[in-house]
Amino acid sequence: MKNLKLKMARAEHDLSQAELAKLVGVTRQTIGLIELGKYNPSLQLCIAICRTLNKTLDDLFWEEDG
């Protein structure tokens, strides 16, 4: 399932996938695959992304039912 919340949070900070990747310390491909829901990041990587984007884990990696 696509992670649109991450994509939106990245857009809020006006960051490209490559720029976010560099800030977090991973590759552009990894950020791209997370956004597409094709790769499950570790908790550590989720936290690093949240810290970089000033978001909580709930904000980016949980979704409400319905």
Binding site: N3, K22, T27, Q29, T30, G37, E64
Partner: protein, 170 residues
């Protein structure tokens, strides 16, 4: 609420990660055993010939080639190059070129010393043989090594870039 990255069946990631670490250690262990075997055979026989160390060379070469092909086909090679270039002053491509030159120079020195040691009758002749063989080895091997290393780098990068772009397509 449900998690975005929910799986139907969960794997124990800790166990998988630890197993992968063991496989990585086994890979290194096999390399060390091959290296020690080559050194042992050299000491026992006083020479290195392909007949003696063929199996060890095959293990090292095939596993290296296998890794290169798999990492290119999975799109990992592009990521490796990107991570390397982010962290290092010298790019992966520059290092590939310098590795080719380095191996060429090393081969030249080994062949040069071997010729001087085996065939020269005087010190002057030893220097002459060394430089002659060194230069000829450089002329012959350097372009081949550079072409081989740069060619395989470019092919792996091109393939890997293509794979990862396909994966990133929505």
């Amino acid at each position: 609420m449900k998690m975005l990255f929910r799986k139907k069946r969960y794997q124990d990631e800790r166990v998988t990660a630890e197993q992968n670490r063991i496989y990585r250690e086994i890979y290194l262990l096999i390399y060390v055993i091959c290296f020690l075997s080559i050194v042992y055979k050299f000491i026992m026989n006083g020479e290195i010939s392909l007949n003696l160390v063929g199996t060890e060379m095959l293990i090292v070469l095939v596993s290296g080639i296998y890794y290169a092909i798999r990492s290119a086909k999975l799109g990992l090679f592009s990521a490796e190059v990107e991570i390397h270039d982010q962290k290092n002053k010298w790019s992966y491509q520059s290092k590939t070129i310098f590795s080719g030159i380095g191996i060429g120079v090393l081969l030249g020195i080994i062949f040069g010393v071997n010729s001087a040691y085996q065939y020269a009758d005087s010190q002057m002749q030893a220097y002459y043989y060394f430089f002659l063989v060194f230069i000829v080895t450089l002329i012959i091997y350097m372009p081949i090594l550079l072409l081989l290393m740069l060619g395989s780098y470019s092919a792996a990068k091109k393939k890997s870039d293509k794979v990862i772009e396909k994966q990133l397509e929505e």
